[in-house]
Symmetry: C2
């Protein structure tokens, strides 16, 4: 039989060793992509005219200033820098700068515009400067892998999503050897400055680089830029991180669509049950992929000591098959900003905010009961459907779980985990009880290999499975008691990848461009160890403020592997903050009445196209 499909083309080149450039070809862009390339970006007026830099008072740290001062002797305490209009430019436009830029960590919509902003600054204010893009993240700095960026190279990436202009990476510059490599690159390229576009860890790394370069008397200065869709890298002077706006709007579009779907579904409409497994590769998934689950089940039905529990769950899940609840789990590691923002945009029936769970010291049972109470009350009202938002990493907010994880971290650091379970005797009673209460897969996940900081990897814990399981069990209990008469069919969604590489919104496009342009100005004026800060974001773009904030002022120390390390404190959802308060004042109404909002697809023109996130608006004091 002839080959079914023939792949033509010259593919003999198996000698190619490294990944080739993936340069974009604007000629194959979609109409919307094309229209975005030439979308004109407004600049804050301070960047359109001559400016000077004004400094504030010396800064401190977010916590443990003495420790931070010790760790950063050369850059600690720097004042904030603010660009203010001036009659004449205070910076020489004759100075030719040699600047590097690197994308670090996960992608966020707008990264390309930061680079465009730096480039345009150099073109506008320091003609003849050179901009190098380090390829593949911080590893590109260490290995001196770079590309010289010019107008043609940058053009097709303007206002486009992704990080593919120079790609990103998750490597860190940590060891003395690695710092040495970075120094060598800085010297080799004769760099005046480096812009690190990244999240909290990457900006911490940027500050360590700034400290190191200054300590070694290198002329290379380092400026950070706040990137993360999670929205947890922010402070007074950095009102938001880029990418958050776009990602939330993409998730909110999909949540809104699912809501309309749920509402459109009559009570007797049958949905297919879809269960999304969201952990990384493990043997359990291999087993599933192998198709042995049915078989496995019948074996387990005879062998498991927990068989009664198993059968109960099976029964529950077979009984509850007539209505619909979407359990939507959102990216966001520790902070629940995305979940909160999406809730404010869409009004789901149930939203769990991790920070509240932590602050109120809720147990898994409390959270389960809350969900079940709403389901039962909605069922009484005739609504046998709903939408539930849960942040990824929820489990990490539950104090009893945190306590268990802390104890497990200790055990794993110092003891051998024996098959017989003798190690469990090291746990306190409360933690042992909880551990035994958890389903085996969750137990397994808690024991899995740790992240590079030695901590439990929350992203691997299948929160939504655990919650669905607990909710189903509780509902069955109430059904038997006669206090719940509804039926529902659960369906989980995991929204993640779709949001991190979307076309940036007008807000993210403009914000990133200003961040990059401002970073250029900071480097031009000789600043180092600052994070590019663009503020007054509720006002028209012309009135946005531009400056830099000492990275050390965002830092605290954290114990990792038994040592103190500097970290930029993650900005968590504040329960006393306006966004949470607004949500808290409305959630009861959202729970029982249907107040669903469908934000629709991101618009680049016309109504809604210049909207900024509810969280940001509320934090800025407006009423979103």
């Amino acid at each position: 039989m002839a080959p079914p499909f023939v792949i033509s083309g010259d593919v003999a080149a198996s000698s190619v060793k490294s990944a080739p450039a993936t340069g974009r070809v604007a000629s194959v862009y979609s109409e919307v992509q094309s229209s975005r390339i030439d979308h004109a970006l407004p600049l804050p007026s301070v960047l359109q005219n001559p400016f000077q830099i004004v400094e504030g008072p010396p800064s401190s740290a977010a916590g443990n200033p003495d420790e931070i001062a010790k760790l950063f002797p050369n850059v600690f305490g720097q004042p904030s820098a603010m660009l203010v209009p001036n009659k004449v430019d205070t910076l020489s436009s004759d100075q030719k700068l040699r600047i590097g830029v690197v994308l670090s960590g996960g992608q966020a919509p707008g990264g390309h515009n930061v680079i465009s902003g730096i480039y345009d600054y150099l073109q506008d204010r320091a003609k003849g400067s050179v901009l190098y893009g380090f390829r593949g993240g911080p590893a590109g700095i260490m290995k001196c892998k770079y590309v010289e960026l010019n107008a043609d190279y940058i053009y097709p990436y303007r206002n486009q999503g992704g990080f593919d202009m120079i790609a990103s990476g998750r490597d860190k510059i940590e060891t003395p050897e690695q710092f040495k490599q970075a120094e060598e690159t800085a010297k080799k390229l004769d760099l005046d400055g480096l812009v690190v576009i990244g999240g909290d860890d990457s900006n911490t790394n940027a500050c360590l680089l700034a400290e190191n370069f200054r300590g070694k008397n290198l002329k290379t200065r380092v400026i950070g830029c706040p990137k993360t869709i999670d929205g947890d890298l922010k402070c007074k002077e950095v009102p938001t991180s880029f990418g958050f706006d776009t990602a939330c709007k993409i998730y909110a579009e999909m949540i809104g669509n699912v809501m309309v779907d749920a509402r459109s579904t009559g009570k007797y409409y049958h949905y297919i049950f879809i269960l999304f497994a969201t952990t990384q590769l493990r043997t359990d998934h291999v087993l599933i992929a192998m198709g042995y689950e049915e078989f496995a089940f019948s074996i387990l039905a005879q062998m498991c000591s927990s068989i009664l529990y198993t059968l109960l769950i099976v029964k529950v899940m077979l009984v509850h098959n007539l209505c619909f609840a979407a359990v939507v789990r959102l990216m966001g590691r520790a902070a629940s900003h995305i979940t909160l923002e999406c809730a404010l945009q869409t009004h789901p029936n149930i939203t769990i905010i991790g920070e509240e769970v932590a602050a109120k010291k809720l147990t898994l049972k409390n959270v389960t009961d809350y969900i079940v109470n709403v389901i039962c009350k909605r069922s009484d009202l005739g609504y046998n459907y709903g939408v539930i938002l849960i942040p990824e990493g929820l489990i990490d907010f539950i104090p009893e779980v945190q306590q268990l994880i802390a104890e497990l971290n200790e055990v794993l650091a110092h003891d051998v985990v024996d098959e017989g379970g003798q190690w469990k005797k090291k746990l306190t009673n409360q933690s042992l009880l909880l551990f035994e209460f958890l389903p085996p897969a969750i137990q397994e996940q808690l024991m899995l290999e740790r992240d590079p900081h030695g901590n439990v990897q929350v992203a691997k814990i299948e929160t939504e499975k655990m919650l669905i399981q607990m909710v189903e069990t509780e509902l069955e209990k109430r059904k038997q008691e006669g206090s719940y008469k509804g039926h529902f069919k659960g369906q989980s969604h995991f929204f993640g990848y779709e949001g991190r590489c979307g076309l940036p919104t007008n807000f993210d496009s403009t914000y990133c461009y200003a961040l990059g342009y401002g970073a250029g100005a900071l480097l031009h004026s000789g600043k180092t160890g600052l994070i590019s800060s663009v503020g007054n974001l509720g006002a028209p773009v012309a009135e946005w403020t531009v400056g830099g904030t000492a990275l050390t002022s965002l830092m605290d120390v954290e114990r990792r592997h038994g040592k103190f390390k500097p970290v930029i404190k993650k900005a968590m959802v504040e329960l006393e903050g306006a966004p949470f308060k607004k949500f808290a004042s409305l959630r009861d109404e959202w729970a029982l009445k249907n107040r669903y909002i469908s934000p629709g697809p991101i618009q680049f023109m016309g109504p809604g196209s210049d909207a900024i996130s509810h969280t940001l608006l509320l934090e800025l004091g407006a009423h979103a």
Copy 2:
């Protein structure tokens, strides 16, 4: 401890028996939703002016016309009706019509606009008419559950997604008792006409209703409207079904985002493996939800006779963990229109079109080899990532699988399936070999309960798991042979719900409005048993044609439960059609070079906002 969250509001009303109205409140709409309500919809010029109806020659059937004629003695052979401009209106504007409308089956963006179109027709051309919306699908007709639609009721749903204005349902009017109920409703409401908005099955049902009403000398006439995101209800006079345009654009947006994500990911970037399980509730998923997979695996490792195969797969999946391929599985039951359209919009590396697999009589191994060949060649070129599109229901296109299913259908209809496997002796050698080759879960799925037509439920078969499994195995083989040196990390996505309830595109909004307005005209002129047909869609809206096509002309007969039943033939992807030919001419380039296109979010204004689907454009003879 105090309840963690308090749900306030008056929820004592457990006496509420049926699902309440979920009426929308436009005041809580998003900015984009609000802006869409008042979006002005252009009408084809023939609908803006006086018209008359011109008829064509008598029609036949898509197959077995004699059988169809016997099944539809009263409506078979009707000519197509075409609205053409006239000096004066030929229909009396004094006639007050009593019309019902029903949404049937799964949701598709634009349904609300069909209803708006009918309503506006009646307001414009038959003032004083009444429009009833049957609630919850055809069951609403049988139970006479309806709401009288007026301007205020309809207003918030204009240009909005979902089917929640009157909700939908999947019930069918099939038995003599059910037809009797429908007659009673028609008489009780004194209906002049009924518009059935649905897919192929629902329009078949509409025709049976038309036949039945005419046979009983009822005045109630029935007109269908072509609804399905699958795009498989179309013919020469009905160029597309509504919802297809919007759904494809939503999926294409997400595919485009995932593509940018894949391309942005450097070779050494580690992704979390996410495996989405997409079948409905079954014990295997309960097992997974229970968290016993790890345990199950260790038991199975000692007990399974196929253990070597199991271990091989485990090894393969652990080895291939360094790069990324997105396996995107799209809704679409039997026809691959959505997959083809999304491929034309986004240019993935690999696209499987079910109809081609069927036509070329490919085996599962052929498909696997094709995918693996592309992966290996891309790896040689340094691209260790990719995007693969696979239509849901792929397995149903594979002839050897079809043969197996046919044999299984026979066995299940006539034999007892014994545990010992004696029943397998009824299978042919080829089918038995294939059956034994399949993973147990797939075997199980093939034996599961059938759909209401007695057929294997393709949607329950986890095609992507089976394919991933086979691809991984083949790659491992090649790795051991030395012909493949790459690494990849697979990640599956399932796009479904997000697309069916999105805000309709400009195209779907306008198209649906014309379909509904036209349906009003057909009922006004006394037509029955026709499907509303709007054509010339490549031209400006003013030039669109409007008319109706005999539903019997779309029909053939099919053997269901051993009896002949009329069915509207699903329109499959035609391998000689322009859309497939264009795809086939480009796929080799897409496979090895990166030609990814990111369509971006649906726009309602500005560039791209009036685009129509590539498939439709190509079928109309344009060069998309």
